[in-house]
């Protein structure tokens, strides 16, 4: 029914405070804005809070940030609930965000999702019983050239298929960190068979027409 999923009171911690490291980072963001415009730092601060607090923002953090920036709590909640990147309820240790927007879908994101279901036993919007994995569908993450893809933490895993997705998930289960980036052997978004232009370009050689 509702797209705003706020954790129920029993899951909400009573209080929240930035760690010294988070605070230092928050202060850096706040300092970017002129006096009286500190509210502009609300988005980075929410992100800092989310990173500090198991990848979700509790209401205590909303109130804490509101207090810190001198703004009403409802304003902070408005921002936090507007952007889907802020989680207002607990998520699994591994937060698997599968892009299912048109380019990824055309390139087989359905397969990626079915791999998730096969290896984790959960579908979009669900968390594994052990709390290790949460899978969600997301809108375009801007990596269409490497479609289909998924995001894990700050990393993109690209050029996926059912098999490579399964490999990644199994590696995560074992506690390993699989190598991010394209999973089909290509380098970043270069053509799969190797470069087709600038094949003779030698970055070490002086550029043509330069003075020295």
């Amino acid at each position: 029914m509702s797209g705003v999923h706020i954790a129920p009171p029993e899951l909400q911690p009573a209080s929240f405070e930035f760690t010294p490291e988070s605070m230092a980072l928050a202060k850096k963001h706040i300092a970017k804005y002129p006096e009286g415009r500190q509210q502009s730092a609300v988005m980075p601060l929410l992100d800092i809070a989310q990173r500090q607090h198991d990848n979700w923002v509790p209401q205590a953090a909303i109130r804490y940030i509101a207090e810190l920036l001198g703004m009403p709590a409802i304003r902070v909640l408005e921002v936090a609930s507007f952007y889907t990147m802020y989680n207002l309820a607990p998520v699994g240790t591994h937060f698997v965000q599968v892009c299912t927007t048109t380019p990824c879908w055309l390139r087989g994101s359905d397969k990626v999702l079915s791999a998730c279901r096969k290896h984790l036993g959960v579908g979009p919007g669900e968390t594994t019983p052990d709390g290790k994995f949460t899978v969600i569908e997301v809108e375009c993450l801007g990596a269409c050239v490497n479609a289909p893809m998924l995001q894990l933490g700050d990393d993109f895993y690209e050029d996926l298929d059912e098999e490579s997705t399964g490999r990644i998930l199994e590696a995560l289960k074992r506690g390993e960190t699989p190598r991010p980036g394209p999973q089909n052997g290509r380098l970043s978004s270069e053509p799969k068979g190797g470069a087709t232009t600038l094949t003779t370009f030698n970055p070490a050689a002086p550029a043509a027409g330069s003075d020295d």
Binding site: M1, S2, G3, V4, Q59, G70, M71, P72, A73, I74, R75, L77, E78, S81, F82
Partner: protein
């Protein structure tokens, strides 16, 4: 100034006017939901689309500034189609539950879909459903009906200054709510009900009690505080079903405080609906004749100086002048209307009214608030100060309680010492006042209802004189009253006559047995235990403190039940109208006093309201200038003297429970309990 053509009509408008406003100037009606004259522009409902020549698509007229040579069409096929389209979209998720919706019959969405809609929908999917939200005891929510115009959010943030409503989520999932569904704490929260163009926010106390078309509507004046807000009383049979604000730019604009709007259930409970006489120590029901006879017996043989009268906070001007005349006939100089003991100097009108007028706040560039919490004492005036505050053109200083007002102020001090510093030019704020074009001070009753009140009043006058608050065409000396009756009673001279006693004097004399009979005209805010063994006549509408102590009770009418004259804190004379009949045998108050005068053999010389009002005109000619402000001449008032160090305390401790009607109201009791349970949270509009 831009000149534009609207449907072939040329209009020239002020720079900064929107196309929508220009269309209105040209006499064209533009449908709208999110746009509201007194709120910022959101431009999110799209209902106000019009066609602009040379523009590629319809424009949202509410958000488009009018520019020179624009050619606008408001009735072209394109506009018609655009409106139909927008309306179809708005209705996609709006339930068709008008028959069970309290907004039905007075709903913008209903009216506009009839006026501009297509009559059918092509939408076959399931409608969205949204969980209802708790917003406190006053506002009922049916959030599925919400069309996300955000008027409520903007009102509570901008006008009320307590930003506690917001829109969480986005797109189809957007929901209006308070933070984690806490109750709203604003004392103006009821206005979101009027602002809501659909039935999403409706009145909780009024829920499912009446339909708008079966109500008899009477335009009247509110008596819950001294603002004199213009109201419309909606009545079915003899029962007040709801109270709504009426537009008056100079007083309440179009807002109403929650107390004025929701205390009406107090009109139905604890009412005095027949006369009572105390026999053998017990109050027993009596007929009017028996009650009058009891009064005659009680007053028999008493000299004038042994009789006293106190007028309460809800007494209308008619009853006050009638009682004053009666007391005069009985030879009593002991009358007073200042129940709180405020040391007001009644000899000079400029010394006890809000001289600049409430609208004057819109021009003020320096405001000194003394011993007042305007948010509790006059919520609408507080909103007016906030309105001025957000323009950034005013400096506000406060002496007294450091309350959470809805604007930022310089806290100058707690008590009279600071006021003295300003009066004698030793304080920095004195320079701010002197440097201002239109400086004003707002003197609360809390500052003068104390032993050194007269000296505080003199100090305030000294500030006004020394800092140039009174100049040509501007008088910035403003007293803020809390009682609807006060200024009217002062104007009519309901104050101690030659050698007469004031409230404190009357109570002391009653205790000492010197005053043997006291007439309480709805006076409930006095310490009735101090009335000693005096014979007490209580005339009023509610069985409150005064009635419990009374020996004879004369049941009167509440403010909605009589044609009455009210003078607000500005000195503005306004006419309240009878919306319903008083309950049982209760009568209009002046008529009771007139009938009693007959029974006492001191017949008052007026037989009808017209004659009485002529008498009022004679006593105070400005009563003829209804709805207008009559400027008062600046003069001397206050008595210079020593002041104590005691800090000023606001005259109103609990916004919701200031008079017998509000105290009888279950709704107000609930609001009060909620407010007491939680300390006023920070409003977020200041540090």
């Amino acid at each position: 100034m831009p000149t534009l053509t609207i449907d072939g009509i040329q209009v020239t408008v002020e720079p900064g006017t929107t196309v929508l406003q220009a269309c209105e100037l040209a006499g064209k009606e533009i449908p709208r939901f999110c746009y509201h004259e007194r709120l910022t522009i959101a431009g999110n409902c799209r209902m106000c689309l019009v066609e602009q020549e040379k523009a590629p698509k319809p424009i949202a007229s509410c958000a488009m500034p009018a520019a020179d040579n624009m050619v606008i069409h408001t009735d072209s096929p394109m506009v018609k189609k655009a409106r139909e389209g927008v309306m179809e979209f708005l209705l996609i998720n709006h339930p068709l539950d008008c028959p069970i919706c309290d907004q039905g019959g007075e709903c913008d969405l209903q009216d506009q879909s009839v006026g501009y809609g297509k009559g059918s929908s092509r939408y076959d999917e399931n409608k969205r459903a949204v969980k209802d939200k708790y917003m406190g005891p006053l506002v009922e929510t049916v959030m599925t009906r919400c069309i996300h115009c955000t008027r409520c959010v903007r009102f509570i943030t901008e006008v009320a200054g307590v930003p506690e409503l917001g829109a969480i989520g986005r797109g189809e999932d957007m929901q209006i709510t308070t933070y984690l569904e806490q109750a709203m704490t604003s004392e103006l929260s009821g206005n979101v009900i009027d602002l809501c163009p659909v039935g999403a926010l409706t009145s909780k106390p009024y829920a499912f009690t009446a339909r708008s078309w079966e109500l008899r509507k009477t335009e009247s004046i509110d008596a819950m505080d001294a603002v004199g807000a213009n109201i419309r009383v909606d009545v079915r049979g003899r029962e007040v079903m709801r109270v709504l604000p009426r537009l008056n730019e100079d007083v309440n604009e179009e807002w109403l405080s929650d107390k004025s709007r929701f205390a009406y259930d107090g009109l139905k409970t604890d009412r005095l609906d027949r006369a009572y006489v105390r026999r053998n120590g017990k109050l027993q029901e009596a007929t009017w004749a028996e009650a009058f006879a009891a009064v005659a017996t009680g007053l028999k043989g008493l000299a004038g100086s042994q009789i006293a009268a106190i007028a309460g906070d809800l007494a209308c001007a008619e009853s006050v002048i009638a009682l004053k005349d009666l007391m005069e006939k009985l030879g009593s100089p002991n009358l007073d209307c200042r129940q709180d003991g405020a040391r007001i100097d009644p000899s000079n009108r400029a010394g006890y009214i809000f001289n600049s007028g409430i609208a004057g706040i819109d021009e003020a560039d320096a405001i000194l608030i003394i011993g007042s919490n305007p948010r509790r004492e006059a919520a609408l005036i507080n909103a007016r100060i906030r309105k001025r505050y957000i323009t950034g053109k005013v400096k506000i200083g406060l002496i007294g309680e450091q309350a959470q007002l809805t604007y930022k102020y310089d806290y100058l001090g707690a008590g009279p010492a600071t006021l003295k510093d300003i009066a004698e030019g030793r304080h920095a704020f004195a320079e701010i006042l002197k440097g201002a074009q239109k400086p004003m001070l707002i003197l609360g009753q809390g500052a003068i209802a104390r032993a050194d009140g007269a000296a505080v009043l003199a100090l305030a006058k000294q500030v006004a004189d020394a800092c140039g608050l009174v100049k040509d065409g501007w008088n910035g000396f403003n007293m803020l009253h809390t009682a609807a009756s006060r200024v009217g009673a002062l104007d009519l001279g309901f104050v101690p006559g030659q050698g007469g006693k004031d409230v404190a004097g009357i109570l002391a004399a009653a205790q000492a047995g010197e005053v043997k009979a006291v007439y309480l005209l709805g006076a409930d805010e006095i310490d009735t235990s101090k009335l000693g063994s005096a014979f007490v006549i209580y005339q009023g509408s509610h069985g409150a403190a005064g009635a419990r102590r009374a020996d004879v009770i004369l049941p009167g009418a509440a403010y909605t039940e009589k044609d009455a004259t009210w003078v607000n804190t500005e000195g503005r004379v306004q006419l309240g109208r009878r919306a319903a009949a008083p309950p049982g045998e209760a009568r209009e108050d002046w008529a009771i006093i007139r009938a009693l005068s007959d029974a006492l053999g001191q017949t008052l010389p007026y037989d009808n309201l017209g004659m009485l009002r002529r008498r009022m005109l004679q006593a105070a000619p400005h009563f003829g200038a209804v709805d207008k402000l009559t400027p008062a001449a600046w003069g001397n008032f206050g008595t210079a003297g020593a002041v104590s160090d005691a800090p000023f305390v606001s005259a109103v401790a609990d916004f919701y429970l200031t008079n017998p009607i509000a105290r009888a109201s279950a709704t107000m009791a609930e609001c009060s309990a909620l407010a007491r349970g939680a300390a006023m949270p920070k409003t977020g509009t200041h540090d």
